[in-house]
Every structure is written in C-alpha cells, then in structure tokens.
C-alpha cells in the first residue's frame, strides 16, 4: 500500500491564479502558476509595461536583537554593517568549505531588526542553519516568518508608477525598503527585483494579499508566472539556486566575489579568500547560440564545463544560457561547442547581461 504524497502548499493568492486560468505546476513543494496566457507574452509584458508575480512561496527569516548584526555578519557573505536602516543587500550563504547554500536578499527594517528572503526550495534548511549558528549569539533572535508574509513582485518600466498610484507616500528608492499604505493596506515595499527591470517587491499579510494583487492587476499589472520569471532573470544574468549556484561551487566561480567581504569573518570566508587569491579554475559565463538550437541545464561544453541554464530568449529570439567553463576559456568572444542531446551547437561567450534595461 503506497501512501499519498504530502499535499502541495498553496499561497494566499492561489484562488486568484485559478480564476485567471493559470497553468499550475509543482515547484519546491508549492502549487504555483507557471504561466497564464503564455511565457513569451508575460515576459514581454514585463519588459514593455508591468507584470506581477506571486512569490509568496519564498521564505522570510527575521533576525533581531543587539547581536543581530554580529550573527548576520557570521552567516552572510556581504558586509551587513553597510546596510543602513531601510536598506537592502544581496549576499550568499556559504558552508565552511565555501560551497553556496543559498543566495539571499536582506532588508534592514529597524536598527536591530532584519528580514532575509530565502529561496523556497532552501527555506527550511536555511532557517535550520540560521538557528544552529544563532546558538553562539545569545543576544540575537531568529524567527521563521514565512507564514506571516505574502509577497508579490511588480516589475517593468511602468511598475513603480502603477504601485505609486495607490500608495500613501513616495515609494522607496532602488535598493531601499520601507512601510507604506497601498490600497489601504500596510505593505513592506522593497525596491528590488529579479527581472532586470525597475520595480518593487511587496510584502503584506496573507489576508490582504488578494486585495492588493487585484488592485494592481486592475491598474494594469499583467499576471506573470514562474516560466517568465525564469526567462527574465536569465536575460538579466541573475543566478538561480540549483542551476548557477549549489554547494558544489563557491561564489568566486559564480562571479559573486563582489558580494563577499571575507574580512567580516563569515562562515566560508577562508575558502572564498583562497579561491579569490589563487583564481578560480572555472568561471560562469553567458553565451549565445549561433544559429538554431536551445542549450539546457546539464549540456556538456566541449573542452570542459557544463550549461547551468538555457532557454530561448524572448527578446533576442535566439538560444541563450550560462555555463561554467575552464577559467582559461572564459573570455568574451570565445567560441564554445555545446552537446545538446547528441547534437553539437556552436555558441559564443558574450558580455553579461543579455538584456540591459536599467542604467
């Protein structure tokens, strides 16, 4: 007798997705919309106007208390002391050997209160890690806030204007955060995003999420699913944990040395310092396919390396992707041969990102 698999979790916006006719798929244990009208249409809506994504499946960890800063310096790769109250910062979470556990955004809500947003697939492991390290910091308190927040991202050239129209005050500037009232509800507005466009990520209580979502959709934000979220971030050359990032490699190979400040003494700093000083043996590059074909995660690169992500770029209308290749073969302009399911496709390493919208 087989037991039924655990039911998938649903976000506070599930009914909205069903009503909009979304195609729902399993993602990290959640039942999520992969698309509504179509990945390419949603992608272009974000590039040209504004799209709205339900990202409530992502996790939130709150760190507070007099030792909050110290604890986060120990956990996160970046220099947390550089985040002013109301600021936002990207970092990675590493193991002792430098392997990447997750990539995260941390927002400083108050002097001693921070909110870290985790990837859905890693949230439970991240929280367990935070708790175990917090044992050494008695005046820091960590709590799992995933059930207290719904989150939606409004992204695109018209996104800020659409959200501003319902807000009781000017929205935070890029890479800042602050509480605002939007459509009558209290919302934590984070001027960050994962698409390469202007926009904001909005955190609100689960009870208020459907109303906020509907208000923004009425104002013209086009519902967009995980399919478009992936093509947008790939065009912008943002990393996806499980593709570009994993415990197998450190941040230096991934090109994330910029968010690592070894002098802050984070877990893994020594390994990262060593990789930085000796130079990594592999580097993450962006490539375009020359001609037909779409490379996919896992495709081997001739001469060493592998594709981490690949798709058809809706903006460029050709196959694009990222791959780890030997450091000596990572210069822009290098020709690559990629084995796509038994067929060799020619590709060329290009500058990141593929699509650059914001200055």
């Amino acid at each position: 007798m087989t037991s039924a698999p655990p039911a998938l979790r649903r976000t506070p916006l599930f009914a909205e997705h069903v009503e909009a006719g979304a195609k729902l798929v399993e993602f990290a244990g959640w039942e999520m919309p992969v698309q509504y009208d179509g990945v390419r249409e949603e992608h272009m809506a974000v590039r040209e106007a504004a799209g709205i994504f339900d990202v409530s499946h992502m996790g939130e960890i709150e760190t507070s208390g007099p030792q909050a800063l110290e604890l986060l310096q120990r956990l996160l790769s970046n220099d947390i002391s550089k985040i002013a109250p109301g600021g936002a910062q990207y970092s990675v979470l590493c193991r002792e050997d430098g392997g990447v556990l997750d990539d995260l955004f941390t927002y400083r809500l108050e002097v001693d209160r921070y909110l870290t947003v985790t990837n859905a697939a890693n949230h439970l492991a991240d929280f367990a890690w935070f708790e175990s390290v917090a044992a050494d910091f008695p005046d820091a308190h960590v709590s799992d806030r995933i059930d207290e927040w719904a989150m939606m991202a409004v992204q695109g050239p018209l996104a800020r204007e659409m959200v501003q129209a319902g807000a009781d005050g000017p929205l935070p500037e890029r890479m800042s955060t602050g509480l605002r009232r939007i459509s009558g509800e209290e919302v934590l507005v984070c001027a960050t995003g994962y698409t390469g466009e202007e926009g904001v990520e909005l955190l609100c209580s689960p009870e208020h999420a459907p109303r906020l979502w509907s208000a923004l959709v009425r104002r013209g934000a086009r519902p967009a699913g995980l399919g478009a979220r992936d093509t947008l971030r790939l065009e912008a050359c943002f990393h996806l944990y499980g593709n570009e990032l994993s415990t197998e490699r450190g941040p230096i190979e991934a090109g994330l040395g910029w968010c690592c400040k070894e002098d802050t003494g984070f877990i893994g700093a020594e390994a990262v310092r060593a990789a930085r000083e000796s130079g990594p043996t592999e580097k993450l590059v962006a490539f375009e396919i020359e001609g037909a074909g779409i490379a996919r995660q896992g495709n081997a690169v001739a001469g060493g390396g592998e594709v981490t992500s690949g798709t058809l770029s809706p903006c460029l209308e050709r196959g694009i992707g990222m791959a780890y290749v030997p450091a000596e073969r990572s210069a822009v302009g290098t020709q690559l041969e990629i084995d796509v399911r038994g067929r060799t496709r020619e590709a060329r390493i290009v500058e990141k990102p593929f699509v650059q919208k914001r200055a």
Binding site: K23, R40, G227, D230, T231, I294, R341
Partner: protein
C-alpha cells in the same frame, strides 16, 4: 487553437500523439501531437525535424518539441520509415500549437506494420483518458 478538439478521422496514442492513415494508401500515415499535448507544452519555440529515412518505432520517441522551459519527447504511435518532414515548422514552430492536426503535422511515414493501428484509440476513447 483555443478550443480542445480531437478529430474523428484520426487514431490516438496514449502519449498524446495522433496518426492519420492515408485514405488512398493504408501503408502511409501522417503523425503529429494532439491538442492536449500542445496545450500542456505551452508555446512551441523550436522544432528540428528528424531526417527522412529515419526509422520510427511504435511507443518510442522519434523527435522532440521544445517550449521555452523544456524539451519534450514525441512518441511514435506506429512503426515505419520517415518519408517526409514538415520543414515549415523550422521557421514557425508555433504552428504546432495553432493547428496541431493540419499545418502542424510533424512527419509522414511508410508503415512497416499497418496492423499496429489496431492498438490505437479512436477520438472518443482517447478523450476519455484525459483529465476532466
């Protein structure tokens, strides 16, 4: 194609593929994917036809269609040798979504064992296998 449809003159395979036996020559058939298959895939963005002369084997994959997110195998409903491929799909792969039974045909085959058709379903039976 907005509305689900499953023409009566076709034979259907459980892996969401169809075969149209040539009314003038029962040893020839046209193959493609069903409305259900193209709907599940989403927009087809890439189709690289197999070569004429390739052998296809019933119940085995003989080609692929690609959406933005993923590559999907296409299963042969019948066995035989490919005698024609739909080259127009190279430039317009979305035709597979728009007209899966007409302009979106994938290959034509000379059947090696026409009696294999007995194992395929008619439109009504196939529809019965689909989710409500």
């Amino acid at each position: 194609m907005a509305q689900a449809s499953y023409p009566d003159d076709l034979l259907y395979h459980a892996e969401h593929d169809w075969a149209r036996i040539d009314p003038d020559d029962e040893s020839q058939a046209t193959l493609g994917i069903t409305w259900y298959a193209q709907d599940s895939l989403g927009e087809v963005v890439f189709f690289d036809p197999p070569a004429s002369g390739t052998t296809v084997t019933k119940d085995s994959p003989y080609t692929e269609v690609e959406s933005v997110k993923a590559v999907s195998d296409v299963i042969a409903p019948l066995s035989g040798e490919i005698v024609a491929v739909n080259e127009a799909l190279r430039d317009n792969p979305a035709t597979i979504n728009e007209d899966p039974y007409g302009e979106g045909w994938l290959v034509k085959v000379r059947l090696s064992d026409p009696s294999e058709r007995e194992s395929l379903m008619d439109a009504r039976t196939y529809q019965g296998t689909l989710d409500g």
